[in-house]
Symmetry: C2
């Protein structure tokens, strides 16, 4: 069966996020000053062939660890829909 797995990858909270800071500046220039913090990460959806939801999650986590996320600077969360 085919499952859809969503992998959300964000910069670690302890680290600066220069891209987020740049977006925050842009939003301020557009008059959206009520937004006071921005963090930019990735959202990756995978179509996984697996026998069960648990197997699909295991495969998606392996993909995140091996290729999608950089464990030194990012953390990830996997949700199977």
């Amino acid at each position: 069966m085919s499952y859809t797995a969503q992998v959300v990858i964000m910069p670690l909270k302890e680290l600066l996020d220069p891209q987020g800071k740049a977006v925050l500046g842009g939003l301020g220039n557009l008059g959206l000053g009520k937004i006071n913090d921005v963090r930019v990460g990735k959202n990756i959806t995978l179509q996984v062939d697996a026998a069960s939801k648990e197997e699909a999650k295991t495969i998606a986590e392996e993909a995140a660890k091996k290729l999608l996320a950089n464990g030194v600077m990012e953390y990830f969360e996997v949700t199977v829909l």
Copy 2:
């Protein structure tokens, strides 16, 4: 009050996603052949000062429309946590 808004931005389903195709090739090389489609988008979290959850959502949607997402190539979904 401060709300956390999550903006997920993905390439439109009708369009090719070359970055996703590249990742799919990489996953195949790593032996993760059970993954048969990948789409890569962005996940942006915003801290929004607003009087209510609804106001926070309106502000986040305005930010997504004006700056974060490119409506020609991408669609977005806003969730206030």
